[in-house]
Symmetry: C2
């Protein structure tokens, strides 16, 4: 395989995050290294011409056909960028035209209407969800648990914190998380403060061997990280979840995104779930 990365341009009138995420999921289908050059906020004719110059210049000096992913909504800037000498992957236009036909209406051609608008209730809910999840990370407080959308439960290093923050950031879900510790196993009871909120509980578990690896990176050689201790904690935690009828998911080998998506699927049928960055308040209720 050639180690020289192939250059890809990401041209957007907003942050370019949508274009970048999408282009990456496509580019991973090819066994080549890629180098992304981001060109966000291309929202004027001048900036569009400048982008074309840079792209063409790259093509001439490198001798390689530039690959250009674009999500320009504005037809004028889009027409300019399309004149660049390269493979233009125009993500919006390809899909908007057939949609206009099916929906029987014209699109807005509004720049970056996706991410903007910080004054909406949805945006406030998102920030509130992030703050709530931070304040309720690792069982820091039992206050306001009635406001939680989800409460994650699991042994230390089973993936609770990143999952909580992701659910808050992407889905505006107020997500608390509680550790299950040897103290809980001795008492043979879930943390007392959680009992009134059993319906919001969701368990995370993990393969003990993987857990031991992760804990050893954090605290090498500790009893906490020992495989026997990890086996004990995981088996006690799983038994506790089973006894309390708490749905439980193994996070071993799952990305944060996969854990979050699976939780959302389990706690509610798909058609009542909010989308990313959308307010869940009217559509989402697991109480």
């Amino acid at each position: 395989m050639n180690a020289e990365p192939r250059t890809v341009f990401i041209v957007s009138d907003g942050t370019g995050i949508t274009a970048e995420t999408f282009s990456q999921s496509i580019l991973t289908q090819f066994e080549l290294p890629f180098r992304q050059i981001r060109m966000p906020f291309i929202d004027t004719v001048d900036k569009a011409h400048e982008a074309v110059r840079e792209i063409n210049n790259y093509g001439e000096t490198s001798g390689q056909e530039p690959i250009v992913f674009t999500t320009l909504v504005n037809t004028e800037t889009n027409a300019i960028v399309r004149t660049a000498n390269g493979l233009i992957m125009d993500m919006f236009q390809k899909f908007i035209a057939p949609l206009e036909l099916t929906l029987g209406m014209k699109s807005n051609h509004e720049i970056g209407s996706f991410h903007h608008n910080t004054d909406t209730q949805a945006y406030k809910n998102r920030i509130e969800a992030i703050n709530f999840s931070l304040e309720h990370d690792d069982g820091q407080t039992n206050q306001n648990l009635a406001d939680a959308d989800i409460i994650l439960l699991g042994v230390s290093r089973s993936g609770k914190t990143p999952t909580s923050l992701y659910l808050a950031m992407q889905y505006s879900l107020k997500t608390a998380n509680y550790p299950l510790t040897p103290d809980d196993f001795e008492r043979n009871q879930i943390p007392r403060g959680l009992i009134p909120f059993k319906k919001k509980l969701f368990g995370l578990t993990i393969d003990p061997i993987r857990l031991s690896e992760i804990r050893n990176e954090r605290r090498p050689g500790s009893n906490y990280a020992k495989i026997d201790n990890c086996r004990y904690e995981v088996s006690e935690a799983e038994a506790m979840m089973l006894n309390n009828s708490i749905s439980c998911l193994s996070t071993t080998n799952k990305s944060i995104e996969e854990i979050a998506t699976t939780i959302l699927q389990k706690i509610k049928p798909a058609n009542e779930l909010p989308g990313p960055n959308e307010s869940p308040k009217t559509m989402f209720n697991i109480n």
Copy 2:
């Protein structure tokens, strides 16, 4: 405008997050309410047939042509889903075929290679960055600041925390954040522990009127939230950043994504930046 939402299906062999994000950015171009039905993890022929049955059933009972966004990489399941009666927005195939031509190679057709693989160094860096950012939220500690990629600075409620977590989650950047408080303004100096790391500092500021609104939601009627106090804090903070040559960005009316993208643009030329979820360690160095 018709208030009845139009139904859109999101069919993916992975989490469906890429498809969902992209479909939303396209659908916001139309002034219609949409309802998304997510069908993640469609990774077998059986599940693909089941998805087609659900889509067709919806079309027949609603009398509306279903709109279907798909990101199925597997050609077999994709061929099945394409038989559904509806407008099929096949996001991958539309772009992969021309790319195969330009690159002169075949794609993998690997399911969800984007989000998986939790064993990679990139994945570990991401989790480490999230933990680092949490531990260094709101100036909690001065330890290990030498490991930080970015240190955000700003008055309370200027947007530091969500931005830090986003930079960690999406770009694996270890992002600390420090509040600038009236104590700092009296001493007329940035927090002492930060002085050795001036090159990593990035300031966030905000319009005092907006700041006062945000603080009033948090602590109604407090001196903390009063417009005069907000004006004082913001003007002192901006002067302090200017005196210390710290780049500064106003977060007023900016989404978390826009703030993060702008910071990334300012601290490094675009072509050396990592993509989302990519390891920045070899490409990113602002020290």
